[in-house]
Structure formats: structure tokens, C-alpha cells
């Protein structure tokens, strides 16, 4: 597998970025959903560090997207479906940026900000002064955004599985190590 993408498959850089964000996003979401019950400061800190890492990785993905070609859609995929797919991916990127950014703003705009550090290694600056209205807005975005992002992720996974098991094309196998496309149906 090449570092860069081919017309058929994703290269190793794109795969690494895709799967590392996938794992981090799921971990961040699970911690985010449970941290109020766990009630331990370290867990909140972990959620924030992971979320900031996602933001970094998404920046890297966007840069890589500009530099590298994208594999073509499977042949015969209708134009409308291609358009829906591109839009869905656009929304996934928007939520991958909006979730950590709104979290970062929540942490910055609070009346009594708690120190923000990336895995305790170095301090991360506030991106806003205390601003209750902004914090409230960021909180709403973070909470409603979670459900939108979760729905998008579900669609993303279901679509990949549909391509693999129903259409039997290279959509899933092109991104997933160790997976080969299934033989065409009779």
C-alpha cells in the first residue's frame, strides 16, 4: 500500500488519519457521556485532551486532503448518491471541528475557567474571555452537535457496510486494512 491514495484505494496516510480520528472520537464521546457520573477531574481532563487531539488530527486531514487525490467513487454510483455522500462527509468534517471547538470555547468562556492542559504536558490557552452567553451557546452546540454527529457517524458506518455487503464495491475495503471486497453477487 502506498503512502498516497490511488484512484481505487486510500493510502496509508489517509487510513492512519481516518482510523486514529475514529478511535479518538469514539473514546472522547464515551468519556464525555459518562464523565459527569464518574465525577473525577482527571476524566474531564482526558476528555479535553482527546478532543483537542481530534481537532489537531482533523486539521492534518484537511491539509492532507488538499495535497492528495481522492479515490474515485465506485463506477456506476448515481450522481445524486455521490452528491449525498460528499455532503455527508462535509457535515462529518463540520462536526469534527465544531465539537472540539465548542468544547474549547466552553472551557474558555466559563465564569470560573479551569486550567486546560494537553495531557498535562503543556497549557492550552483560552480562546475567549469569560462570557456566559457565549458559553451557553457553545454548550448548546456541543450537546446538540453530539447527537447530530452521532447520527452522521451511524449513517457513515451503515453506508460503508451497505457498500461492502450489498453493493460489494471497494468503499469499505479501500479504507480498512485486511478487508477485501466481496465477490460480486450471482
Amino acid at each position: 500500500m502506498s503512502l498516497k491514495n490511488t484512484t481505487q484505494n486510500w493510502g496509508s496516510v489517509a487510513r492512519l488519519l481516518h482510523w486514529s480520528t475514529a478511535v479518538l472520537i469514539i473514546a472522547t464521546a464515551i468519556i464525555g457521556l459518562t464523565m459527569e457520573d464518574i465525577d473525577v477531574p482527571t476524566v474531564y481532563k482526558l476528555h479535553k485532551s482527546l478532543g483537542l487531539t481530534v481537532l489537531l488530527l482533523v486539521a492534518a486531514r484537511l491539509i492532507w486532503r488538499l495535497l492528495d487525490r481522492r479515490p474515485a467513487y465506485p463506477s456506476g454510483m448515481p450522481k445524486l448518491q455521490q452528491w449525498i455522500s460528499s455532503s455527508a462527509h462535509g457535515f462529518l468534517y463540520v462536526s469534527m471541528i465544531a465539537m472540539p471547538m465548542s468544547g474549547w470555547i466552553m472551557n474558555s468562556a466559563g465564569k470560573r475557567p479551569l486550567p486546560l492542559e494537553w495531557f498535562g504536558l503543556f497549557p492550552v490557552p483560552a480562546i475567549s474571555g469569560p462570557n456566559p452567553d457565549l458559553r451557553h451557546l457553545a454548550h448548546e452546540v456541543h450537546e446538540i452537535g453530539f447527537y447530530i454527529a452521532a447520527a452522521l457517524l451511524a449513517v457513515h458506518v451503515l453506508a460503508a457496510l451497505k457498500h461492502h455487503f450489498v453493493d460489494r464495491d471497494h468503499t469499505l475495503s479501500g479504507m480498512t486494512p485486511g478487508v477485501q471486497p466481496l465477490p460480486p453477487k450471482e
Binding site: E36, P41, K111, R112
Partner: protein, 182 residues
């Protein structure tokens, strides 16, 4: 004179403390709040769970307070801050979930009363005065009190918070109890 006389009787063991009027606390109309400061501004919080045993005779200023406070029930309007309050640097709820305030010595003041009691918190016991007013009648009374304490006397807010620059050293505790005669 009354209070001194009562104190002498108490010392002699003639009057049992338990004989001071015992009150039943109406928990739904009672509160225990605290207020510390964050960068000089008030940061309020509350304990939703606390169990006060109050015996008090306002006429003689005698009685006994014994209040258990569930530290894990402390909350501000911010769940993340609450995790800090419950955590090892502040209340260390896992090690000692209950704080206890006990007072048996009371004094009348110009405004009302003061209880000279002791607060046990985080394994430390320190004298804490609770100033309070008492209003009502023999069947139903209200106690409103306030105490000022130094959090570092109890090692509350250690680690990165030990410095009082961000979180002030003085904490105000306020309570309002609705009391029914038993």
C-alpha cells in the same frame, strides 16, 4: 444571668443537655450553603444532604448541635467544578464522606447567638464559631446562621489550589433551618 446559671447546672450535671428543647428539622425548608471566592468573586454552592440534630433553648442559650454533612452532595452550578470539590484536592469524599459540626457551648450576642463548636472535615478538627439568629415560637422556629472558616485549616483545596490567588482562603457557610418542636 440565666445562661450562666444554666451553664453551672450543666457543669454540675444537674441539667442533662438532652433536656434542652429538641427540634425536628424540616429538611425541605432548610438549607446549607457555602460560598468561596474565585478570583475575588463569590462562587456559591450548596450541600443538598445534611442531617442536623438540634437541641436548643433560646431562653437559656443552652443545647447541643450535631450536624452531619454529606460532602458528596456538595454542588455548584458546574458539574466539572463539582468533580474537583469531591476530588482528592478538595473534600476527598472517598476518604471521608461526612463532615461533622458539633457545638455544646453557646453565647448570647447583641444580634443573637454564637455557637462555639468544632468542625471535623478531611480528618482535621478545628474550632468554628457559628453566629446565628433564632426566631419563632416554642412550636416552630427558624435558625439562620453563618460561619466563616479557613479552608486551608482543613487542607481543603490542596495541590494546585493551595495558593489562595485563584480560590480564596476564606469560605463562608450559611444555613437556614426550619425547626419544629418535638
Amino acid at each position: 444571668m440565666h445562661s450562666r446559671f444554666a451553664a453551672v447546672l450543666l457543669l454540675l450535671g444537674i441539667v442533662d443537655i438532652a433536656q434542652a428543647i429538641e427540634w425536628r428539622v424540616d429538611a425541605s425548608h432548610s438549607s446549607l450553603d457555602f460560598e468561596f471566592t474565585y478570583e475575588g468573586e463569590a462562587f456559591p454552592g450548596t450541600f443538598s444532604q445534611f442531617a442536623p440534630k438540634i437541641a436548643f433553648d433560646p431562653a437559656t442559650a443552652t443545647g447541643q448541635f450535631d450536624v452531619s454533612i454529606d460532602l458528596g452532595s456538595s454542588s455548584t452550578d458546574d458539574s466539572e467544578w463539582d468533580s474537583y470539590l469531591h476530588g482528592s484536592n478538595f473534600f476527598a469524599v472517598k476518604n471521608a464522606p461526612i463532615a461533622r459540626y458539633r457545638a455544646e457551648r453557646f453565647e448570647t450576642t447583641a444580634e443573637g447567638y454564637v455557637a462555639h463548636g468544632e468542625l471535623s472535615l478531611r480528618g482535621k478538627t478545628q474550632p468554628v464559631d457559628l453566629r446565628f439568629i433564632w426566631a419563632g415560637d416554642p412550636s416552630e422556629s427558624v435558625l439562620e446562621g453563618e460561619a466563616s472558616l479557613q479552608r486551608l485549616d482543613f487542607d481543603v483545596g490542596g495541590g494546585e489550589w493551595a495558593d489562595d490567588e485563584t480560590v480564596g482562603a476564606t469560605v463562608i457557610v450559611r444555613t437556614r433551618l426550619l425547626l419544629m418542636a418535638q
